[in-house]
Assembly symmetry: C2
Homo-oligomer: 440 residues x 2
């Protein structure tokens, strides 16, 4: 729903929010959790290069226009309590922060008086995990990714029939989801060496996967599926996700139970949560990988989903090697990807997840799956780009890669962009590959 908080001409009294192309203009207002010297994290809202400190706002009386039931949730160390509210509360809160940060008005005047108490520079704090993740689920919503992966892993070009009727997924590991910047240790695991005989060793096919993270709001009770047109009321917001994948470990272990240790060593997420409200201008009709795509079953189908179920988010993948960083080389852009290339929508993802009675809880993280486009160079992981390791590519300094090596750093940066609206940035998720650690 578009309202005054999406107006392109709105500007903030915080100058850095008004710079053309900034990630966090006043129309965005993403949430984060941050730590300064405190041991306990606080919640904040990103604006330009600053963070609005929500606990400090509450202490200064700047949130008194909001109900206590909301204000209490904003003074926690994680977003889970606020996420457990509802769309009306989230929208009311967004409107209030907008009024505090917009260029003029009584709330803005009041906030400016307390600016030294309630604003902290992003550069001065650490961003930490914004929520406790009860469960992490990873989908595979790009048909293009699924088809290419299947060809490489199983040698067949025929897509599996189920993928035409449902977004496939597997349960991921919640304990090892970490925030951007945390070290990524190259995983060890069983890798097939001779035919049907494995060795335990460091992965030689270590990969990233570019995904959008969906973060659940109130959720549902066990046994009570969420109808497709109620799904978005249970989605709080979004982040960027790097689903690090050891392809050689994955290949040996994957049958019959799916990905496990090839994925569970680490998953990185960006620290900023962009709300569904902020993305209202970037809705689009559901896309289809081909004209002969079958109609979805009724529980995955709705007029609203067809008309505006998709979101337009552009995300780029950057690589830098240790050598590149030593030489101050710019990171290399490895691919440019668009969420519109992914067929299944966020509403279908939620409806499918709960269709058997599974309960979602506030703060649950759901990955979209690798956001690969139709063309091979639009692949959002190296396994596709290198055809399973058959081909190589060059970094700008001549270094050769099929997969990641120790010292490589992977960065995803994303934004929603549309003529007539300010850019809504997602910030970035960064991870650097470190050598494996020894036994505990």
């Amino acid at each position: 729903m578009l309202d005054h908080t999406h107006a392109a001409d709105a500007v903030s009294w915080i100058e850095s929010a008004n710079i053309q192309g900034v990630d966090f203009p006043i129309q965005n207002l993403p949430y984060c959790a941050f730590q300064n010297n405190d041991t306990v994290a606080r919640l904040g809202v990103g604006i330009g290069d600053q963070i609005l400190d929500l606990s400090a706002c509450a202490q200064a009386g700047l949130l008194s226009a909001l109900p206590d039931s909301i204000v209490q949730t904003l003074q926690q160390s994680t977003m889970n309590a606020f996420m457990s509210l509802n769309r009306a509360a989230w929208r009311q809160t967004r409107h209030h922060f907008f009024s505090m940060l917009v260029s003029e008005g009584p709330q803005a005047d009041q906030t400016i008086k307390f600016r030294s108490e309630v604003l902290v520079a992003q550069a001065d704090v650490s961003l930490v995990m914004p929520m406790d993740i009860g469960d992490f689920t990873d989908y595979e919503c790009s048909h293009h990714h699924a088809v290419r992966m299947r060809k490489i892993m199983s040698g067949t070009s025929k897509p599996l029939a189920n993928g035409f009727y449902l977004p496939r997924a597997y349960h991921g590991r919640a304990s090892s989801v970490v925030v951007s910047g945390e070290p990524i240790y190259l995983p060890l695991g069983q890798i097939e060496e001779e035919k049907e005989i494995p060795a335990y060793k460091p992965s030689e096919k270590f990969d990233y996967e570019l995904e959008l993270g969906i973060i659940i709001g109130a959720g549902n009770k066990r046994g009570h599926p969420i109808a497709i047109d109620d799904a978005e009321d249970n989605i709080f917001g979004f982040c960027l996700v790097n689903d690090w994948s050891a392809r050689d470990i994955q290949k040996w272990e994957r049958l019959p139970l799916g990905p496990f240790l090839g994925k569970s060593h680490a998953t990185s997420m960006s620290p900023w949560i962009v709300t569904l409200e902020a993305l209202a201008p970037f809705r689009a009709p559901q896309t289809h990988p081909g004209a002969d795509w079958p109609e979805p079953l009724e529980y995955l189908s709705s007029d609203r989903n067809r008309a505006e179920g998709a979101l337009d988010v552009a995300i780029d993948v950057y690589l830098s090697s240790e050598k590149m960083r030593e030489n101050d080389d710019e990171p290399h852009k490895n691919s440019s990807n668009r969420l519109l290339d992914v067929h299944w929508t966020i509403s279908q993802i939620v409806a499918q997840h709960t269709s058997g009675g599974c309960n979602l809880r506030p703060g649950d993280l759901i990955g979209s799956g690798t956001i690969s486009g139709p063309a091979p160079h639009e692949s959002a992981c190296l396994y596709e780009l290198s055809e399973g390791g058959k081909t190589t590519f060059n970094l700008p300094n001549g270094e050769i890669r099929s997969f990641l090596q120790v010292g490589d750093e992977v960065t995803f940066r994303g934004a929603s962009i549309k003529e007539g609206y300010p850019r809504i940035g997602f910030g970035e998720v960064v991870g650097r590959v470190l050598p494996p650690v020894g036994s505990k």
Copy 2:
């Protein structure tokens, strides 16, 4: 390690703990969380038909021989804090409870004085989830189960090569793990109707899976694998698990990412946590499904694991239909199963889980996988017993089953039994199949 708390001749001043064949003699001392009229759960220790109320014990000063750091963890509403300690603390605490409940001695005399404050009858309280589960993982450790499942699902008799070298597993769903007695709603889902075309409907192949649940203690840091001989120091205890499975949903969705909605609707666990200490008399050498089984890789291999890595636990499966209960018929024993038929040990499960760097946290639940034995009638799920639905069996009253129907109730009861030692019971896990609920 055997000590005086395992002595067969030890008896309790609580008479119900001394009855031959009781689940909870003084040698067991399993933990639980219970609720009376309070809204907040308390922790307890099972003894005979009673529960020792640990918060009440602390208030009565009966835990003053234990360090404060331990006593604090026993006054929580979940076991997670106590689980996060270490084996020395768990053993010290066990020894203290033993001294309080054994037939004579100063601690026992003191406890008897407060018996009306610190004992509650199990019949008078509700048992609730004993811990918050950060992550639930489900293994497939029985070769016999894996081979029969593969034959039915994929039509091939050749086992997958990876199963000879590692215990396979997939991430499960933590949000829908419920305690014994909670209702189990028959799941709906996509089921293949015509060739490669599904319909969304209630499962017609709804199944149980009998498993042992391993509950993690302190766990490890991300990136730091746990060595096989350190694994047991990270295992707090055990429960019984029913991994409810909709086979028709599972069959359609399972490739390439493994089980998802066929499993995530619900998993039941027994409310009692039997500690690893209590099972010390029931250690056994690792078993092998066949003489030609390959040697494990080094990280899954140790002398200690070979010599005493296995645990002898016997678990029976009981079924009752609605009609049977109306007629007061006894539940029908559907199978008798032994954990010794499962090849991979609890130490190998933990070593494998962390071998890629995945971190385990206190209270994590790990299922052993279906505890099927070598003979078809020792199958611990209906999918095997009915060969995927090809065959039927009769309940004692003549009712016919291949899979579960609405109204059916499934009960698992388990115990470790050995000549010269008292029986160590696990209690039971019960679940009744209810009709699917409508949309939220």
